[in-house]
């Protein structure tokens, strides 16, 4: 007998966070993410963790970043309108290199949009939301079990690279219920941030490695930590020095992009004779998977590519499977954002066919099958 639980996606995200060692949550109520906060408010105090409901999403992410520098593994959960408010804090977490996990249960937009209906229109917001330009990590679950596992991955990336990491869920994946068998589920090893544990001199951002991730010291431990959201030198002091600015900017970029092989996750289901490739993520991956099964039953040759990590986008990996492909079908509950990313990768010989919903509903397998050559 396994340890099977029938859980909602948002509950699985919360349990994944706790499994990863999350001991601090700050958030603000918003549909369709609220069950994450509810679960954390119940569970965190049982392990001496801290839960706080802040006055808005700006404060929620700020509190997470503060707690992160005090040594906590922190998470917040929201939906698109909340992310819009958090974009300031995302820049702070990038610049100060604060490990933090941000759950976005996507709903229909723009603005307050459709609170209870599904959307996938926040992909580019996750990539480019805050000003100034920086790489980011976003992971996209499409099952309840993946909500559990990928939230752990998200914490691992946050801790390893000192970066805000998005779990880009959506209303369907966050609200649906499925079984998780906790005895058979395969989990990654839990990663914790590197800490400067010696008595040697500590500089807050002490690394000469242009791709390096500096070790941390929690506030209140034996070395002083100096953090600034303003461009800073290795000491954490605000700087106007051209070389310091350049070094920091390039390191923030390279610590992610030079490690993209370690970060990128994807899955494929290849038919070598296929002329059509379907690319789906999140809840649209569920539709895509079913479409492939149905299409193959009727003798159609079709392949499937699923980016699990949306950012950095698995572009190299996608390009490697394009032999013989004439058409790429991209179902998205938006006007098409991943499809635009794919357009940048392929030449004119490959047709990009977008299958878009902007009506708050899932895309059906039939709508995808229709487009398969």
């Amino acid at each position: 007998m396994g340890n099977i639980k029938f859980l909602q996606g948002n509950e699985a995200i919360a349990l994944g966070a706790l499994k990863a060692g999350c001991d601090f949550f700050a958030g603000y109520p918003i549909t369709p993410s609220s069950e994450v906060a509810t679960t954390m408010s119940i569970e965190l105090p049982k392990i001496h963790g801290k839960f706080i409901q802040m006055e808005d999403e700006i404060a929620s992410l700020a509190a997470c970043i503060g707690a992160s520098f005090a040594g906590k593994k922190t998470m917040t959960a929201t939906s698109g309108p909340g992310i819009s408010l958090m974009t300031e804090g995302i820049g702070v977490a990038i610049m100060t290199e604060a490990p933090v996990v941000i759950i976005n249960a996507q709903r229909g937009g723009p603005s307050t949009g459709q609170a209870t209906k599904v959307g996938q229109g926040d992909v580019m917001q996750a990539r480019w939301g805050s000003h100034g330009g920086y790489p980011i990590i976003a992971i996209s679950p499409s099952t309840v079990e993946e909500c559990y596992i990928y939230t752990i991955h998200a914490f691992n990336f946050a801790e390893r690279y000192r970066i805000p990491v998005f779990v880009l869920s959506d209303e369907v994946v966050s609200h649906m219920k499925e079984n998780i068998d906790f005895t058979s589920v395969s989990l990654p090893t839990i990663i914790n941030r590197k800490r400067h544990n010696s008595n040697d001199e500590f500089l807050t951002y002490n690394t000469s490695d242009p791709r390096g991730v500096p070790p941390m010291v929690d506030f209140g431990e034996r070395h002083l930590t100096r953090v600034s959201t303003t461009t800073h030198d290795k000491r954490g002091w605000a700087t106007k020095n051209q070389n310091d600015i350049n070094f920091l900017h390039r390191r923030l970029y390279n610590k992610i992009m030079s490690n993209r092989e370690d970060i990128v996750m994807y899955e494929t289901d290849i038919d070598v004779e296929a002329k059509t490739l379907v690319v789906g993520f999140g809840c649209s991956f569920r539709s895509s998977k079913q479409a492939i099964i149905e299409a193959r039953k009727t003798g159609k040759k079709v392949s499937l590519f699923r980016p699990i990590i949306l950012w950095p986008f698995p572009d190299k990996e996608l390009k490697e499977i394009l032999r013989g492909i004439k058409r790429i079908v991209v179902p998205e509950i938006s006007w098409g954002q991943i499809s635009e990313e794919i357009k940048k990768l392929v030449n004119d010989n490959i047709e990009i066919v977008k299958v878009n919903h902007v009506d708050g509903t899932m895309i059906t397998p039939e709508e995808i099958i229709e487009k398969v050559l």
Binding site: I42, P45, M54, E55, A59, D218, G220, V227, G236
Partner: protein
């Protein structure tokens, strides 16, 4: 100032500071580090958090843990730190626009929670760093670069605002009244709960220049002339007090429970028993 204190709590490598000649901010910085010394806090246990603006540069000169954040958000970051590690002493330094315009929401909610933070507002009644725009504490009729015909907006009384929101220590001091300033900062630091100190300070470069008071000492004397101690004001009528701003301690309440203690005593205990 005693040289030992200066060396102990100041990041001397960052000096001289960037503030204009005649700015009152350095006086408040001096009172803060002297209060650290008076209470005897270890540097490792102090976290100084600030926002953006002239006041936001203050942590850069203090040799403790420091977090220089975005405009208006210092209290929200500080709330996370305090929740994570309640044993830390957390000092938040904000400007008047920082604390009460862009950060007004965080201010009233930190006060309402009665979380053990000490918030010090460097209140020079203007946005100095960005060029002298009017703030929520600029008096009516005063000039600012964005109020060239005189300010028509009523100004906040920050002490009353924060008292109304539930802060359990509220005081107003000035860069002129040093003894009161140090007393209020020390009392704010040692108070268990949300402490708020509105410090009237000077900006000769922006506020003074735009309001026909360019000289640094003139700006300080204006504070002296326009304020009245609470002890005196109590026995005076509103007419007698006139436009003068009352300074002193307004709230010092030790009977309300502090937020992080309540969290441990109520929430964690109940959650553990349930399990």
């Amino acid at each position: 100032m005693n040289t030992d204190i200066k060396l102990k709590y100041l990041r001397t490598g960052k000096l001289p500071h960037i503030w204009c000649p005649g700015c009152g901010h350095g006086i408040i910085l001096g009172a803060i580090v002297k209060s650290f010394d008076k209470i005897g806090w270890e540097k490792d246990d102090i976290v100084v958090v600030s926002g953006i603006g002239c006041s936001g540069r203050t942590p850069g000169y203090i040799d403790a843990n420091t977090l220089h954040t975005t405009h208006g958000r210092a209290l929200a970051f500080a709330t996370g730190i305090k929740m994570a590690k309640p044993n830390l002493h957390i000092v938040i330094i904000m400007g008047d626009g920082d604390a009460s315009a862009i950060g007004g929401n965080h201010l009233i909610h930190a006060a309402r929670r009665n979380i053990d933070l000490t918030a010090i507002v460097f209140n020079n009644k203007i946005y100095g760093m960005t060029g002298g725009q009017y703030s929520p504490t600029t008096p009516q009729k005063a000039k600012a670069s964005t109020a060239p015909y005189g300010n028509i907006e009523p100004n906040f009384d920050l002490a009353k605002l924060v008292k109304g929101a539930g802060a359990t220590y509220v005081a107003r001091a000035t860069a002129y009244h040093i003894a009161l300033l140090e007393k209020c900062i020390c009392n704010g630091f040692t108070h268990k709960g949300f402490s708020f100190i509105d410090v009237l300070t000077t900006c000769p470069t922006q506020y003074g220049r735009l309001n026909k008071m360019k000289s640094p000492e003139g700006n300080l004397l204006m504070i002296k002339d326009n304020t009245i101690p609470r002890s005196k004001a109590e026995s005076m009528t509103d007419e007698e007090i006139g436009n003068r701003i009352i300074i002193g301690e307004f709230v010092n309440n030790d009977s309300s429970r502090e937020y992080t203690e309540l969290y441990t005593d109520e929430i964690i205990k109940k959650a553990m028993n349930k399990e």
